[in-house]
Each structure stands twice: as C-alpha cells, then as structure tokens.
Symmetry: C2
Subunit: 353 residues, 2 copies
C-alpha cells in the first residue's frame, strides 16, 4: 500500500459504502426531452437556454429530486465550490468562533466547507493535513494561523492553492485577515500601569511561534515606561494550569497586576488567587483578553479587550473569495480590539508590596 493513500476501509471493501443511486443529469435530460448539455446549461447558467426547455428541465429536476454531483462537477469543470478550513483546534473559543465566521460567509457565497485539523506541528501530521486539503480539490483554504501547527500547515501548502491566513500578528506579503492584538495588549497594560501598579506580570498562552501580539504589546508597554519585563508565566490550554499559576503568583507580594493571554486563563488565575484567600481586584488586578461571553458574568467581571473572531473569519473568507475571483486582495484591514473595563482591575493594594 502506498504511503500517500490508504483506504479507510481495512479490507478490499466488501462492505464499503456505496453511494445511493440517485438521479443523474442524463435522467433529467431524458425526462425533459432535451440533451444533457442543455440540462448542464440551465444548471450552471453558462449559456442561454430557451424559455420552453428551461421550464421542462426545471420540472424534470424537481420531479426527480435531482441534485448535481459536486464531485462530477469539479472533475469536469476543474472548478471547485468547496473551501477548506485548516486549524489546529476546532473547539476552543477563538478557534470555534473563527470557524463559525468562515463557515457563515462560505455558505452565504454558496461554498461548502471541509474542515481539516492539524493537531501538532509534527512533520508527518502537517504533511497529512496539507495532503488532505490538496486531495479534496478545494478552491481555496483559510488557515487559522494562531499557533505553530497553523503556521507549519500554511507553509506546507506552499501556495499550491489559494490560501489566506487568519492571524493575530500583521505580516506582509501574505493574504490574510488580522486582528491586531498588540496595540490592545499594550493599552490594557497601560491601563494597569495608570492605575498605579508598578509593574504588570504576564501569563502567556501557547504562542503562534516566535511571539504573539498579546505578549508583544505587553512587552512594548512596559518598555515605554522603562519598566523591566518580569519573567513570563506560561500556561497550556488547560485552565487548571492557569489556576496553579494564580496560586503561585498570589504568593509573591510583588505581584499586584496580571495581564493574561486570554479570558479563560484570567478566570483560572483569578480562581487560583481566590483560593489563596486573596481578592481580585482588591489585592491583585487581573485582565484577560478576548471578551469571552462569560467574561461579564464572572465574579469579578473581567476587564479585557474584545476580539471578534467570527468577524475575523468572515474577513478572511471574503479575502479568499476575492482572491479566487482574481480580484486584488482586499485592503489589509487590521481591526484593533476595543477595551472593555469591568471589575477585575483596581488601584494597587496597600497591603502588598
């Protein structure tokens, strides 16, 4: 068996999954009393068909419950009406929202979407993902370049196919939609500083490579104020690691303000602080990022920066669709997330330091 393909059915498929025989274009043609190309023409609108025949075809289509086969169409025309979403994850907040946005606009434009996930940046996995995308004859792909697997997968595609990236860090030369995170991160950090905190600690979520915009913004803001950057705390996507870090940071009296990579992490950190008997924001201020739907419900409600991932997905898809039509890529529109101030930040406590 070749390496590039292996049947999902283990045996020579005695029990494979034969597609139900449904009406084909020639059934329609026969019933309507026209030729196959004529049916094709009313289907695709590629050429004019007389009113009379068109009506007969439409009737036959309805009568047979005919649906053109996407596979046959792509094969014959060399054009596809399917796009792929390439992502490292499908269920985490930002990812799921971005996917929702992509799906929505794809559907609105008449495109089907296949989703392929690449869990790690391991070479074979990345290649498998790229293969999967390429094998499916999709018109284009939107890749969630939020993390190393995403970055690797995009690279593996080698522009063998129209692709646009969804990202948090602007980058030149690549078709992409970006939510500029660094400015908002900087603003959030400044907010904490302006409250009187002498420094801001950072709990970093898994980055997309070198450094993501959130961390960069934080670093920049501290730099602007000539404040040395405290050591970064890293969390995994598992919120319990954030909890542990919250406990640990609470034990350090130098910590009065914390900037977390996202809201879930902020909640974990706050809960950790809470479990040591300290209070947020009285003892320690904490900010998150994203404005997760639960951020306003948390007690204390989170100060954070709103990210519209679904909109990012829609932008990216629009970008891709434009690219497919041969239009010049839309202007690189970087949206700066608005800050939302709630309850998790306050003046530094006199009890600490």
């Amino acid at each position: 068996m070749s390496q590039t393909t292996s049947s999902p059915y283990d045996e020579p498929m005695p029990h494979s999954a034969p597609l139900d025989r449904t009406a084909t274009i020639s059934d329609v043609a026969r019933l309507a009393g026209v030729s196959v190309p004529t049916v094709s023409r009313v289907l695709t609108g590629a050429a004019r068909v007389s009113e009379d025949r068109r009506r007969r075809v439409d009737k036959a289509i309805a009568a047979l419950g005919y649906r053109p086969s996407a596979a046959a169409q792509v094969l014959a025309s060399g054009r596809s009406t399917t796009i792929a979403i390439l992502a490292a994850n499908t269920s985490r907040y930002g990812y799921a929202e971005a996917i929702r946005g992509v799906e929505e606009s794809a559907r609105a434009a008449g495109f089907a979407v296949i989703i392929v996930v690449v869990e790690s940046e391991r070479d074979d996995e990345v290649r498998a993902a790229a293969d999967a995308v390429l094998r499916q004859s999709v018109a284009g792909v939107v890749v969630l370049k939020f993390d190393p697997p995403g970055v690797a997968a995009l690279k593996a595609l080698q522009s063998a196919i129209p692709a646009v990236a969804l990202s948090g860090v602007p980058e030149a030369g690549v078709p992409q939609a970006v939510l500029d995170e660094s400015e908002a991160a900087a603003a959030l950090t400044e907010h904490l500083l302006s409250l009187g905190h002498s420094t801001v600690h950072h709990v970093r979520i898994p980055p997309s490579g070198k450094e993501d915009g959130r961390t960069t913004g934080w670093r920049l803001a501290l730099q602007r104020h000539g404040i040395p950057t405290p050591p970064i705390e890293d969390v995994s996507w598992d919120v319990s690691t954030a909890h542990e870090i919250g406990v640990r940071l609470a034990s350090d009296p130098a910590v009065t303000a914390i900037f977390c990579g996202n809201d879930e992490t902020a909640m974990g950190v706050i809960r950790g602080i809470h479990d040591t008997g300290l209070n947020v924001p009285d003892d320690i201020s904490v900010v998150g990022f994203d404005d997760h739907p639960l951020a306003p419900m948390f007690i204390p409600a989170l100060t954070t920066a709103r990210q519209d991932f679904a909109e990012l997905g829609r932008h990216g898809t629009a970008q891709l669709l434009a690219l497919l039509k041969g239009e010049s890529p839309l202007a690189l529109e970087t949206v700066e997330p608005p800050l939302v101030f709630r309850e998790s930040t306050a003046l530094p406590s006199s009890r600490r330091r």
Copy 2:
C-alpha cells in the same frame, strides 16, 4: 437558473478558481512505465502488484508529489471517504466538543469531514442543508440532534444516506449515540431536594423539540417527591438572558434552588443573583449541567453533571463507520453523566422562605 443550483460565481466565471494542474495518475503511470490501472491498484490496494512495479510506482508518486483526486475517486468508484457533520451551530460548547469528537475519529479512520450548518428549522434552510450534504457524495452523516434545526435536518435527509444522530434523549429505531441526560438531571434535582430545599426551579435552555432530557429529569424528580413543578424559565443561548432571569428569580423569596440547563446559563443566573446582593450558595443554590471547563473556576465553583460531548461525537462516528461497513449498529450505549459536587449548592438559607 435552477433552484437546485446556483453558481457561487456571479458571472460566467471569467475569473473563476481553476484548480492548479497537478500530477495525475497517468503522469505517474508514464513515469513509472506501467499502466494506469496498475497505479490505481497500488493506490487502493485492490489487487496485487508485483514488488518491482509497486516500487517503481511508489517512486514515481514521490517524485511527482502525486495525490489522487478525491473527486475522481468518488466518481469512479462510487465510494466516498468523506463524511458530513450536520449541525445547527459550530461554536457553542457542547456543539464544538461534539464536532471535535467526530472530526477526531473520522480523521483517525481516514475520512475527511465536511461541515454543513443549518441555522434554523425554516423549510428552505433545512432543505438547503440536506441538499448540500447530498450533493457532496459523502459516505454518511453525523447529525447533531440537539435542537429543532437538527431534528428537522435529520428528517429532511430521509435516510437517503447513512446517518447517525447525536442526542441527549434516547430514541428507538434510529442509529444514534446518546448521552442520557434525564437521569443525571433528576439526580441533580434530588441532590438539591435532599439538601432541604422544598422545591427546585428550572431555567431551561432552548430545547430540541418536545422536551429535552434535562427538563424531563428535573420534572421527574419533582414528581417522585410529589412536588408540583414551578413555572419554567426559558433562556436563549445568549448568557445575558440568563443574567436577567437570575435577577428576577432572586427577587422571589420562594426561590432557594435553581437547576439550570447548562453551566453557562448557571453562571449567568448566579451573576444575576449576585447583582441583587444575594449570595450563591448561601441564599440560593444553583446547579448547572455539562461541567464546562470553566465550571470549576467560577466563583462559586459549579455543582453540575459532566457531559463528555467529544466522546459522544466519537461514539456516533464509530456507529456511522460500522454502519458503512455493513456491520450491525453498535449497541446503543447511553452514558449517564457523572455528577460533580462543588460550591454552588448548600442547605437552604433561613433568611429566605
């Protein structure tokens, strides 16, 4: 233009999306010095090929970076290695997790997955979704029967294609994977009752039709104790509606215990109660459902019932794959979610009632 099809490209596609010309099977055959069928045979493993030729073919495949076209394969073989996920939503917790589970097992089995969402139960939308699934020549479909659109879409498929449903309520005769929610809901309600609460109010999330297992379980538990069911409060998926209801319920001194349809709703309700100056669980006990990742981080941490939606998705996919192989559907395994007791429930307050 026909109703069943409309090109996503508005014009006669001068600027359409031509697929990049890549190596085809005959390129491989030529380079390897064998016939096309031979290449096909090494690809699919459908018949034996001499060691010598197989090696030459593999080499040619690698040299050309050849990838078989899924569209051509499905067309020629009448068999598909793609499954569809049909869902009303892709980003809400339970949905996203279920989708993740489906995608994981599909990928493990070598299947690609396309995702089609049906937002409402409106007839045209449901039909469009069913059409989309059917047009794609997928081997089968997993439908998230969590809500009315899901139910309607499943019906619209009319078993024109192998399908399994993911659901919270067991139902006979349909291939499905179910997470039996009613027992856990009843147990949660009993828990509240056993704490001494004289009744339990229910905040219901959008149901899947008649009544979902969560509401049923709650109703059953009250019935068992001969307690009349208080009026149900309905929330939308928007957490702010839960917040409003929390505020409202807090103003009713008869309310000392609340069973919420899911954890997000519970958090909204708790926050609403909190905003009226009351405390959970001292004044009012609240339970959620799902054991959302943030449930243990919330303050107070939520008492809830754990739902493994990803596992549900995996089960459903296994079910579908078995069905495709012609095997008898796996035993209907209904998993009863384990309860997890945390901080949001307590004895009834003497200050109320």
